[in-house]
Symmetry: C2
Subunit: 118 residues, 2 copies
DNA sequence: TTAATATTTCAATAGTTGTTGTATAATTGA
DNA sequence: TCAATTATACAACAACTATTGAAATATTAA
């Protein structure tokens, strides 16, 4: 994780629409959600949603897979783990355990994001 | 943690300058850093730094304490813990342990942020 | 092939954010 | 008190972001 990537991730989530999209995808885990369903669930016009989904996929925070004429989106949780590590790994001069924030890395077998971890 | 607060925190960190400030404060833990030292360490003009510090303190991500004519800033790590919890607590329909991301809450005795946890 | 569905791209516009210099406020030491 | 130091507030401008509707692209079904 580097500064530019971290800033881009924060920009990705610094929008009410994108934050709701991300959380919806986190809740739906490996199953993911297709674009039209995201739009109807959140009440966001498809044009606008597409704009925000593009921002989220561009950072890698969300992945997309074509499924016939649908686009299925999923949250990429390992990116979030890396981000948290970046924010805390130098805490107190390199002793993150003192800070009360810990992160386990996402394993390949993770029930929540396995189909999404390539 | 609610949506508006979370978006505000992400906005706070969605800037190279603010992210560097935050990480500098995390590294310095309870000791904190005064504004002038932040400015010289990061090479940011005082006027501009003040703008960014205001944004960080406004969200509560950073706290400030007056010390004579200096303003001493510190990272508020408990806010970060809450944010992470907000992002992951409904993962996989309420089973965050499946996601590989865990967060311990910041304790009052935390060596890193104790003088900052009021 | 044609029509319908799902999604994205484009262009226009409104609003927001970041940067700078100058001016101001607050604290300290002589 | 006065001058020096530290930091913030304000105003102006450039740059970026979000939203919308209309048009385009891609897939499926008839």
């Amino acid at each position: 994780m580097n500064k530019v990537t971290a800033v881009t991730i924060f920009e990705s989530l610094a929008s009410g629409v994108r934050l709701e999209v991300y959380r919806l995808l986190v809740r739906n885990g490996a199953e993911g959600v297709v674009a039209g369903e995201i739009a109807s669930t959140l009440g966001v016009p498809p044009t606008n949603l597409s704009f925000h989904l593009k921002a989220l996929t561009h950072t890698g925070l969300v992945s997309v897979e074509q499924e016939g004429r649908f686009q299925r989106y999923r949250a990429n949780l390992s990116m979030m783990s890396e981000l948290i590590a970046y924010l805390t790994d130098e805490c107190c001069g390199g002793n993150p355990e003192l800070c009360g924030v810990s992160v386990k890395s996402v394993s390949a077998e993770c029930a929540c994001s396995s189909s999404d971890d390539k």
